[in-house]
């Protein structure tokens, strides 16, 4: 069974970030044989003075595979309770990952969390309406992290765009790659230009700067810039939040 696991509001200014906590939590889960986890996607939620985020109001979501959903959920809940930072308000969402499900109501909630101030009551109402395919729980403080946790899982289920945690480092001595070999080596599913358009033809790309991948249209996507007649893996961070 595949699940989206999303956590939010687990940190303070002196702790590790939420993305790192999610990764260590899932590494521990794997060590206990509870499930395996893929890459993590970061979703930006609304920046607003009425929202008590630590520094950027983002939530982190990974896809996991497990044979024991209840045990993995219980482990994650315990892990958050024990390891979330002092003063944080952690929330956990575990959502069934199945393309046959109609996620539309949850996706709507996730998108609202990117543009509106929402409440815990609204998060619980959205989760309850979705039924038993979603678990939502709070593990300390005000528990306000349930809002972002549900939003992040919903956005991931909806294949909405987010940033993939981590960075690819260019290997020494190999600046040129075909898109096919790059895709096979790094697990990239799609290439796109800066405007999000598909780049489908076989291309030669230049990989000389540390590069981030994004999650776009449900696929691990590498963004390429066309500069001076060559395709360059996008080295620059977005200038705008």
């Amino acid at each position: 069974m595949k699940l989206y696991i999303c956590i939010d509001d687990t940190d303070n200014y002196d702790s590790i970030g939420t993305g790192e906590l999610l990764e260590t939590m899932m590494q521990e889960a794997a060590l206990r044989g509870l499930g395996k986890c893929g890459f993590t996607v970061r979703y930006q939620l609304l920046i607003h003075e009425d929202i008590p985020y630590t520094s950027h109001n983002s939530s982190m979501c990974c896809e996991a595979e497990t044979e024991d959903r209840a045990a993995l959920t219980a482990f994650c809940a315990d892990y958050l309770r024990e390891n979330a930072a002092e003063g944080s308000d952690p929330g956990l969402c575990v959502l069934t990952a199945d393309d046959r499900l109609d996620y539309a109501p949850l996706i709507a909630f996730g998108k609202r969390a990117q543009t509106e101030v929402l409440t815990k009551a609204q998060a619980y109402a959205a989760a309850e309406a979705f039924g038993s395919e979603v678990h939502l729980s709070e593990h300390g403080g005000t528990g306000g992290g349930v809002i972002g946790a549900l939003a992040g899982a919903a956005l991931r289920a909806g294949k909405e765009e987010g940033r993939i945690k981590g960075k690819l480092q260019p290997p020494a001595g190999k600046p040129e790659w075909t898109t096919a070999e790059f895709a096979a080596f790094y697990g990239v599913e799609r290439f796109a230009d800066e405007d999000g358009n598909d780049l489908t033809g076989p291309l030669t790309l230049t990989f000389v700067y540390p590069t981030k991948l994004i999650y776009q249209r449900g696929m691990v996507t590498a963004v390429l810039l066309h500069e001076n007649g060559r395709w360059l893996l996008k080295p620059k961070l977005k200038k705008k939040k």
Partner: protein
Amino acid sequence: MWKNINGSAVFAGGKEAFEDAAQTALRCPLFRPDSEEEWTAEEARSCYNCRYRRWTKESFQCVKGGCP
């Protein structure tokens, strides 16, 4: 460089003053890099990449009170 808004030190340059944010971080003894997935500036040492910045709608607040 810093505006005092309701007792908080808010970066006066907004979200795209990359040079100022880098120069300010170079001078700051309290700079601490955030997780890399939260970086928004190319320069590693930039207030925009600091753990102690809290984004606001227009800019960010320095939770350490601003670089001295």
